[in-house]
Symmetry: C2
Subunit: 156 residues, 2 copies
């Protein structure tokens, strides 16, 4: 095509032809939905992520969590502070390495995580409603394949 012109694009939504644009906007929409679903529990999506990780693996330090979730360690401090202040988890010094914390959900934290999981799965199911179960599984698989080479991100 000539250097003097840009090809005419369909007026409707020229950006919708870019898969990348769709993925970015879909990510934003999905995050907004998750935040709205968790708001009644006074939780942010990050709280849910941290609690889910801690519930699955007690041996994770705060910096392990930062790395796996792609958050700055200083943000993790504030997040864990908040969850601890609200009685959802406890910090205990690791016996093997007393610089590290071992994080552990309290019973209240486990109950809250369970409720959060319920609303998250409900929201997710609404978001995925336009897809049949085969398509939903396919999307899950494709997204996972695309993400794998880039996650966790190397912190700048």
């Amino acid at each position: 095509m000539p250097a003097t012109g840009v090809p005419a694009a369909p007026a409707g939504q020229p950006l919708a032809q870019h898969t990348g644009y769709l993925l970015i906007k879909l990510g934003e929409v999905t995050l907004a939905i998750a935040e709205r679903a968790l708001a009644p529990l006074n939780l942010r999506a990050r709280h849910f992520n941290v609690m889910t990780m801690v519930a699955a693996d007690i041996t994770l330090s705060q910096q392990d969590l930062s790395g796996q979730l792609g958050l700055d360690p200083t943000i993790m401090v504030a997040l864990v502070d908040d969850l601890e202040r609200r009685g959802f988890l406890r910090r205990e010094r690791s016996q093997k390495d007393r610089r590290r914390y071992v994080l552990q959900l309290t019973p209240a934290g486990q109950r809250t995580l369970q409720r959060a999981l319920t609303v998250i799965e409900e929201a997710e199911s609404k978001l995925l409603a336009p897809l049949n179960s085969h398509e939903a599984g396919l999307l899950q698989e494709l997204a996972g394949r695309l993400l794998a080479p880039h996650w966790p991100p190397r912190h700048t």
Copy 2:
């Protein structure tokens, strides 16, 4: 499952089972890739989006653009200021409604958009490399279907 406990999850990546989490992180990764690809042109992804929209439809006002791109109108002002200052587009008052601006790419803007399009498509192709062409088309279609009910977002 009992209220006193949360089901044991695979330690590897408990969040990866949530499609929503994958979509959010994939969106973040995709945006980061786009920003990195455009950085040598001194453009942000938003610049590219605005220029693409303006190239496709000259009749869009700044608030039309804000709405379609999901950005606050005040952010659009700064964006258009920047593009105008760099000689990539011009503001002209609409004849039909002199409150509105009609935005128009300059020849330099068209050339820059063309170069931006090249690097964006290159980056997109790298991102999608793990998929064959059928899968890539499928992802495009599924993402579009999921996004449609939620876009553009109703500004809070």
